[in-house]
Amino acid sequence: MKFQTIRYIFREGFLYFFRNKLMGLASCAIITAALIILGVFALLLSNIDTNLRLLGEKPQIRIYCRYDLDDADVFALEDEIRAEPGIREFEFIAKDEAFLRAKELLGEDAGMLDGLGPDFLPVSFIVRLDEPDMVEAFVQKVAAMGAVEKVDYPKRAIDFIAGISGWVKAFGFAIACIPMLFAVFIISNTIRIAVFERNSEIGIMRYIGATEQLIRWPFVVEGVLIGALGALVAYFLTGFGYSIVEGSFNSGVAAISGDFVSLAPIGSVSAQLLALDLLFGVFIGAIGSAQAIQKHLRA
């Protein structure tokens, strides 16, 4: 394609876009809505995936000893647990330390613990294993030891997140697909109206020897511009909304859960979100307009 032709296509495409403002903006809004839904699901899935991976990477197992153990028993238990294979980290939490941690956790309400000593808290161990697969067997074995009071590990959280992740993925995709198809249909109609309005212009172009490419591409450029504009608006709205949710979630839920579950900061996902929005916006715009003009040219 000649440089003049490419310049012509882009110039006309931009002209068409600005001439067709009202319909163009309406289509932009539809694309924006579709991409916001897509973006929300993408962010949700990405966070679920990230949290699952982090949980899978280092499941933290907390083993509480019975209250009535003396130091010798505790050390014996420690040796017994340490003898298990596949332990990557082992941390001993003495009663004093557990007491300090409890005070820290309670913060302003630490006064509740006044008058109580560290003795009411059990000795515990925090263990991290090399492989997440070993967690189940390890926990069963340790729980069966006589000196162990209780074993805590994030089984339910892992199971819950893994459980919802599957259907969130499937439904997310399905739910995001419907507005996308709708957006393609709307864009296609917008361009069809634009083509119809320029019917005589297209007729003249055909008579003076314009190739179909030259007739088609300005409309595709128009569609792509509508898609890209819709994508940018969707990106800013989704990003803005996400940063608010992320801020309050991380200072609320995540803090309570000890960063057990947290949302990725907006900075780390914004590039992917922008790429996703632009990719789909441009794709929807191009497909919608190409389909509309193709129907017209065939007619």
């Binding site: 003049q4 032709t5 008579y207």
Partner: protein, 266 residues
């Protein structure tokens, strides 16, 4: 000595003149457009052309006359490959148009300038832009556009109205702008379908004068019309069609075969 040299020069000049005349004769007889036993039946069963055979030479000026619905426009549409012949062949420069595929049509049309009764100018573009547009769609470089458009506009006498929009022009001026657009890419063939149908007699004559000028610089011009006074005043080749058949082909013809039959001329 001087007399011999003079005779030699005279002979050479004569030979050159004869050669040029012969070339011109050959050019006249070599046809540019050929309809060979062409039939066109539309899908609804209407037969618009029935066994039309016609040759138009390069640089010729031809009027195609006949009543509305006689088949004039169909003849032009076949030439532009807007319609396909259902029988026979249409050739340009020996090339059978049936051999041109869908993708080749734009390139065929770049060789044929077209003028319509309703001008068909782009309303949102100025006169200059309308003419330049025809160059843009064929991918002409900007510097060529800047050079050629003013030339075409001056040829049709619209240099001073280059920046006006079609709605600001009279019918005659709009048709002149359309004519400038039709010739901007120097097509060897110019086709006009009722070019004066929407114009008053003075403007019509202006357009005809321009068509004649364009013909004078080498273009083959085919004009479909049913405007009697124009055909009669120009005295060019006239091909008359009636009910899809050629009923008359006359050099320096009139609109009607027998002038005496026409009460206008009594």
């Amino acid at each position: 000595m001087g007399a011999t040299a003079g005779r030699g020069r005279a002979k050479a000049a004569l030979a050159l003149a004869l050669g040029l005349a012969l070339l011109r004769l050959l050019r006249t007889f070599s046809s540019l457009i050929d309809y060979e036993n062409v039939t066109k039946t539309y899908p609804n069963g209407t037969t618009a052309l029935n066994g039309v055979t016609l040759s138009i030479a390069e640089a010729e000026f031809v009027f195609v006359v006949g009543a509305s619905g006689s088949g004039k426009t169909t003849m032009l549409k076949l030439l532009l490959k807007e319609e396909e012949a259902t029988g026979g062949r249409v050739l340009i420069n020996g090339l059978d148009l049936a051999a041109i595929g869908h993708k080749g049509i734009p390139y065929l049309r770049r060789n044929i300038g077209i003028v319509f009764q309703d001008f068909r100018l782009l309303k949102r573009k100025t006169v200059y832009e309308n003419v330049a547009f025809a160059m843009e769609v064929v991918g002409a470089p900007t510097k060529d556009i800047r050079r050629h458009v003013p030339w075409a506009l001056s040829l049709v006498g619209l240099s001073k109205k280059a920046d006006m929009y079609p709605s600001e022009l009279s019918g005659g001026e709009q048709q002149r702008a359309a004519l400038a657009r039709a010739i901007i890419n120097n097509p060897p063939i110019l086709v006009a379908d009722e070019p004066t149908g929407n114009l008053d007699p003075d403007a019509s004559m202006e357009i005809m004068k321009l068509l004649r000028e364009i013909n004078g610089i080498g273009a083959t011009v085919v004009v479909a019309t049913h405007e009697r006074h124009i055909v009669d005043s120009m005295r060019m080749r006239v091909v008359e069609i009636d009910a899809g058949e050629i009923v008359r082909d006359q050099l320096k013809g009139h609109y009607r075969n027998e002038i005496s039959d026409d009460p206008l001329y009594i």
